[in-house]
Structure formats: structure tokens, C-alpha cells
Symmetry: C2
Subunit: 358 residues, 2 copies
Amino acid sequence: VLKTFAEICGGWASEDGAGGSQATGHRERGVAVTIHQVAQAAKVSVSTVSRALNAPDQVSPETRRVVREVAERLGYQPNRAARGLISGRTGNLGLVVPDIANPFFPPMVKAAQTRAQIADYAVFLCDTDEDPHTEIRALRTMAKQVDGVVVCSPRLNDEQTAEVVGLTKVVFLNRRVPGVPAVLMDNADGMRQAVDHLAALGHRRCAYLDGPRTSWSNQERRNAAVRFGAQAGLEVVTLGPFAPRYEAGLHAADPVIAAEVTAVLAYNDLLALGVLTRLAARGVRVPDQVSVVGFDDIAMAGMAAPPLTTVAVPSAAAGRAAVEALLEMLAGDHTEPRVVELPTQLMVRASTSPPPAT
Amino acid sequence: VLKTFAEICGGWASEDGAGGSQATGHRERGVAVTIHQVAQAAKVSVSTVSRALNAPDQVSPETRRVVREVAERLGYQPNRAARGLISGRTGNLGLVVPDIANPFFPPMVKAAQTRAQIADYAVFLCDTDEDPHTEIRALRTMAKQVDGVVVCSPRLNDEQTAEVVGLTKVVFLNRRVPGVPAVLMDNADGMRQAVDHLAALGHRRCAYLDGPRTSWSNQERRNAAVRFGAQAGLEVVTLGPFAPRYEAGLHAADPVIAAEVTAVLAYNDLLALGVLTRLAARGVRVPDQVSVVGFDDIAMAGMAAPPLTTVAVPSAAAGRAAVEALLEMLAGDHTEPRVVELPTQLMVRASTSPPPAT
DNA sequence: ATGAAAGCGCTAACAG
DNA sequence: CTGTTAGCGCTTTCAT
């Protein structure tokens, strides 16, 4: 019941829980039980133990039964590091993310980890804090202890990308690089849906809130907005660029008002949410006076007031798909480097409506 | 440019970026460079290479220079698994979380991972999806390939806890168990601040929205609300229990209205946010008619309308502290199992005000 | 100061 | 079907 630690820094935030209840069969743990102990206890050789566990049909049913029973009783858990050393297969995957605190990533990470676990892979997580340098360093270190890596929204340049691809099996998530297997989201189609929605409501002029210049997704989204806008008779003026954050949205709202548009397409939800807040503060009613559309459909989008119309992006499915693509590569049935593009979908909620009658 | 994958399930959500630009010194990667290759290239034995890298003062300055240069040129990265096999130290830590998609956890995970990385540890992440069974299984598997584990908001029962503690070094986060080192947040004091705030505003009767029955934090928070409420002349009626989620908050708002209170203390922010939404839908103005206080201070709390008054919990600092506690245990300077309790702090925003004049 | 040799725990030939 | 023999890549005595 001590009480200490003065340094409180960066983020704050809580949650937790207490025990469920499941009986655990009694195990005799003698600190570290190795395959040798099992072999000895079962009165067979270590290789038999290994086979009984990994290649069940290479040992007699009886031996197998005994070995497995003993292994179970002793609580034997094979040492994956040792196994990996000889087999070349570590049973580990790497997962690299620019910023896990960005609400866009957690569902992706969760799905990826869960999928990996099902295939009996453990996953190393690395948050690069948006730094390409940290990213490449992490990848180099990881390479040796994983069978492959999923890199989400890579910030690597071409040279670094080439190096990484030579280091280990890699699947990119949210970035298309020739020759590199990847899982992508159909940003263009999502933006088309959003633009069509606005045009159908009768909007004729809207703003696109530009995201980070270096963002691959942003380029796709902006281009699509302009292209499909022209096609649907919706003029799109670009404002920005803005950081993909709530605070930047607060900032972006004023230019939006000045731009005399009846609708705004934001690069992402965080930005859109900021716009919503600031618009309300300035007395501009959403959606009556201005319609707002986000992108991503992060959890908070549906909790905003008004609930945000946005383009849902299948980030959980993408995380899962990326791991699956990696697993396929590892299985060796690799035809060509696979590129998967997942569909996106407009979620119409309450932040969009016909423009005010002039 | 294929296009496939029909199955879109669970969560949806986007973000990404494209390359920065940093020159990478040219490396001659011969697929996998081992300590042997370095030894050969440097014309010394493997043990000398090992020493030159790990125990610099055991080799002559000249040899050291040469070896390091060669290692650098070849891009040698020691195989941590092999190292761990002999040294018993894996250089890996485990991080177990009930649900990374819960916005409470990402800052914690990020801070923990970052801190571990600084100490040159890699981290295995496991999301247990709130399932004690998955949790114990993950812990058993991890135990062998890590030097220690941080378990966030453990859902383990006593027996399982005992087993885990025997498996590897463990630090709990958000749960106090006798004999187990832990990092805690001062829930009681945070609740005291919230209650005092309400009492100071003139509230005389408020509701506490109960969280999950099994949650250790919830028990602490509820008890504190009642105890400090009595002390401050604020009657606290408990409503619930509710799941710690936005949807549950939507549901909780109606009983709140029926309870004829002038304020509500929610178990956590998600719940409070739901209450905010539903109250607005029913035409109840916050804070004019009812004040709302959350707990945790997740990112969305500040983005709500009105911005939520809530108790900030230092989750990032906690993640960092947990890793540090683990690191200390590993270093062996373990005096007694350490328990650290971090302070919490009320963030007064716009969802609280004096009660309506009756 | 340096090299040779012995394993860490495990799997994969290779014999019986 | 099962045991024996080699190592995987690395650190660490133990000699030299």
C-alpha cells in the first residue's frame, strides 16, 4: 500500500476487471520443464517426445498417449526459441504500427493479433511513433526473430522498403508498392460514395480537407473527391493540408465557413469531429447549414453530436487479411505477391442533409 | 491491382502515410549474417566477436575496432533467440491486455512498448478479449519466451494468479493482489475529487452508474463515491450495473432521469458519453439540468459536446511504470514486491455546473 | 587477449 | 516405430 511516483506525463486515461473462475488442472511445474524431463518421465528418448507432439502419426498410439499424458501432467511447453533455432520457423510475427494511440489502429491490431493467435503465432508489437527511422530499426531487429511482418501504413522510403523486403517476409497494410504484397482499402470508391451522396442531396460546392501531404491514403482520397466530384457536378475546393487530428479540425472549421461551401469532406474522422465541434461553437448548424462527412468510421464517429456520416473502412478485416496473406506466404503456396483491396462503405448518419434552401 | 475479399466483419475504421526519407548506409546483407560470418571476415574466432560486442573491455582496442567495423559493414544483428537460449535472458517482455480496442488501453500499451524498446526489449502483445481462459493460456505460452510479463487489468482468479506468478516475473496493472508487484491508479482519491467538486457546486443527490460487478476498479470507485459522498453531504444512489460501454450509457440515461438526481457519476467515460447523448435526445440539458462526470479521461472525453468533466487516470504513465517495475525485478535489485500507486486528477470541463435552482 | 569446446532446448536426418 | 547423432547461433568457461 505504498504510494509514490511523481512523474505524470503524456497521456492520461481507466478500465479493468477482476477474476473470472476456472479450475486449472493441477500441474507439477518444476520451474522449467524441458523435453528431456518429459522424455525421462515417459521413459523414451527426446526425439520420440518431439515426434509424439509434432508428428503424431510417426509414433505408436500407445507411446503417443503416454508421452502426451506425461507432457500434460508436467505442464510441458516447448521452448519456441529453441525450436525456431533449428527449424528456422520462429512461430512469431511482427506487427508494426505508426501510432497505436491513433484510434484508427487498435481494431486493426486486435484483429491481426487474434488471427495470428489462431494460427498459433505470437505477435511482436512495435509502435514507431510515426518515425521512419524507428520503423526501419525496429524492422531490422525484428527480422531475426519473426517469420514475417505486417507493416501498417509504412512511412518507409523506397530504399528502406527495398531493404525491409529483403530482410523477411513482409505484407504492407495501407500502402501500395510494386512487388510488395499488400492489403489495401478502396479509398477511391469510398470517396465516390461520399461524393455521390452529397451530390444526390443537392450539394453543388464542397470543401475537401486535405490530410498529410505524405499520406498515400490522403492522395487517393483527394484525387477521388476531385475526380468524382467533377463527374457528379459537385465542385470540390481543397483546403489545407491539416494534421489528421481533432485539434486540426477545430482549426479547419473557420476556413470552411469562409469558403462558402455547403458541405465538407474531411480526410479523416478525427478532423471531421474537430470541425463539428468548432462549427457548433461558431453557431453554424450541422447538417442544416453545412453537411460534414468523415472517413474511417472510428468508434467515436457514431458517438458524436450529430452522429457523423462517414466512410467506413474495414480496418479489422484488413488486419486479419494482412496476417492471412502473410500466413499464406509462409506456407509457401505463394503464387505471386498478392495485393488485396477491401471494399469501403459509406455510413449515412446525421451530419449530412440537403443544403439550405437559398 | 487485384480486388477481392468479400468477408467484411467485426469492426471497421483509416489512416496511413507515405515515406519519409533517410539514407541507409549500404549494407552487404548475405541473407542471414551470423556471428560466424563476422568472425571469418574479421579473421578472429566467434568468441572474440561475441566479446568485442558484449564485453568490450575483454578484447584489445584494435581487435574491437576491427570486429565492430566488420559487424557493422555486414549488418550483423545478433539472433536474440539463440542468445536467449544460452543466457536465459530472452530480451522479450509480454504485455497482456483484455481489449486493445477499448480506448482506455492504447495509451497504456503505447507507453509500455516504448519504454521497453528504450531498454532494448521487444514486446509480445496479446489481446485476451476479456476471456480469463485465453488470458491464462496466453500467459503459459508466453512464459517461456519472455523475461517477464505485464498483465493489464487481469481477469484471472486466485488459482490462476498463483500459477502465473510461478511461471515468470509478473507485474499487474490495475489490480491489487497480495504479494504481486503492481501498478495501481488511485481510484478512490479521483472519486473523492469528483464528489467534492459536485458537493462544492451545491449538488445534494447524485447517481453512481455501476460498472461490471467483477471489476476491481469499479468496486473501488463505487465505495469511494458512497463514502466520500456521505462525508461531503452528497447522497449517492447506485444504478446498474451497466457494461462499461457507450451503448450501456444510452440505456442508463433513462433511469438517471427517473432517479431525480441533479448529477451523475459514471463508472467510466464511455458510459458517461452514452448518457450525454441520450440525455440530449430526451431534451435534458447538460450541465444546466443534470451534471455528468466520467472517469478515465479517454481522448473522446474532451471532444464530446459538452466536453466531459472526468477523472483523468495516468494510463500512459502506468504502462511505463509497469515496465519499469518489471525491468527492476529483472535487474535483480528486487527488494520486496513493489506496489506503486499513481495519482489521478479531476479534469473540470463543461459537463458540470451548479444544480438548477429549484 | 584470444581460441577451443561445451552446451541452451529443440528438431531432423540417419540408423537400427 | 524408436533411439542416436548433429547441429541452429550464441555465450561462456577453460585453457593457452
